[in-house]
Symmetry: C2
Subunit: 321 residues, 2 copies
Amino acid sequence: MHERNYAIIGTGAIGGLYGARLQKAGIDVHFLLRSDYEYVSQHGLIVESIEGDIILPQVNAYKNISEMPKCDVAVLAIKSTQNPALLPQLKQLLKDNGIVLVLQNGIGIEEEVAQIVGADRVMGGLCFVCANKIGFGHIRHLDYGAISLGEYAPNYRPCGITERMHQIGADFEKGGTPIQLAEDLMLARWKKLVWNIPYNGLSVVLNARTDELMADAHTRLLVEKLMREVVAGAAACERYIPDSFIQKMLDDTVKMKPYRTSMKIDFDEGRPLEVEAIFGNTLRLAQQAGIQLPQIAMLYHQLKFLDAQNRRKQENQLKIS
Amino acid sequence: MHERNYAIIGTGAIGGLYGARLQKAGIDVHFLLRSDYEYVSQHGLIVESIEGDIILPQVNAYKNISEMPKCDVAVLAIKSTQNPALLPQLKQLLKDNGIVLVLQNGIGIEEEVAQIVGADRVMGGLCFVCANKIGFGHIRHLDYGAISLGEYAPNYRPCGITERMHQIGADFEKGGTPIQLAEDLMLARWKKLVWNIPYNGLSVVLNARTDELMADAHTRLLVEKLMREVVAGAAACERYIPDSFIQKMLDDTVKMKPYRTSMKIDFDEGRPLEVEAIFGNTLRLAQQAGIQLPQIAMLYHQLKFLDAQNRRKQENQLKIS
């Protein structure tokens, strides 16, 4: 059996956690880093995890894609806001049959990647995980961890389950990551949005953790209304999500440890928010399908305002320092 | 001609400004105060105004309604969040033909007052003014200033223009306040909501002044969408507001000096927000009329959450101090 090697494009919470798990399983992994490069190339990676810590004193660290060996699977785990700078370099990184696995949040990113590497070389993955990067080369894995894998085809046409999904899934499972294989990537992405849209959005706008949003009757209701609007958007795109899924997301979140969402962390750290990938693309898909999503649109406008204010604040701080 | 005397129930930005103007015009005015009582009873009131300052070294100051003389017009200018404590005492304050003039924001408050003093003894007034209280007995009047007066009748049935509207309007005009007489108080209240709902709501949720909301393309659009939803709610209640009114509100706000809304000031000062009067009552009226206002409902839920958080923060600070 062919041994696949992996390039982790972006060694943050997601890339760090799943890349470390792959390496721990004996797979050949190569990590792209930016601000953590110096530290990680000397000291490696640490994943502090509820499922047991992973300590990797040595990893293959790179500062530029051009220095990385060609690989079978490039795991796209940077923030989607950085895509414009990095996507054009992905093609040179892939072996002839190499593919890109998009682990980013939101919807519609596979399409952008497909324009560069070809639609038959793109897969998507949805991470159901609570994890943060808490220091140089230091990831904290708090809760959950499964990935849902799906093949991409133009217009998100459902592709069923392929042999390479099984193979890549098996690699991740070897590292301890539960894998679901999705026959329809677009349905999987809409299902993930049911969680991401309310919690990522409201956590930033209302400066709140998941537990605070669930403890207040008003925000709990608003979360549910937003979830219903996501489900309506999905239905307009002929992807049907049952009511029971909403209830499960609500119940799971109540049971979850108090969590600061990835978008809230980005906001607090002064990083650009993934508003377009998660909210903008969702609204555009819904609009193409002929449906308005007024509450999601409102959250989108609020986040665009706060993101712009935050960017301006960052620029001013840079000028001062 | 009968000389009317006035009781100003709540000497904040609104009560202080309009009460001072009435007294300056030679009218007999009595001010109810709470935290400012000691200071104002000794030093009087100052209104710093774009239209010329008003300095009143001596005013009739009271700490309790029970100490005030019976009056012709009780001007209700406390925050509506304080209504439950004060409304029951209003009846004893009025002369036989005395009336209550409700200058509070929102909609539906006249109905509550009518239950106490009788529907034929209630008028409403909409203040189009930028003013803040900036210290003990110290009001700053920044911009605009007109009041739109209207008679109340059960279910906000339009009442036309009455003799006592002319009389009370003339008193305010004597003090330099431009007065419009509204034939339909409910229409006037819906028109005021066209401004209050987007700007009061978003200023709190997004921590922004009016100029910031208008300078950003996303919030400017969101303001306009919210205004359209208010107009739709009004239409469901058979009150018709032309598109040109929305444009005028947007244009006026752009021209306005950068303004921190009254709700934002309440929030920053840790005071309860008038969420029910402005948002809750609007949503209930719309629902009774059979229409959903999803964006306003979302703003309502967001504000209820932030208000509850703010209340809790205040209580914790009180415990610590």
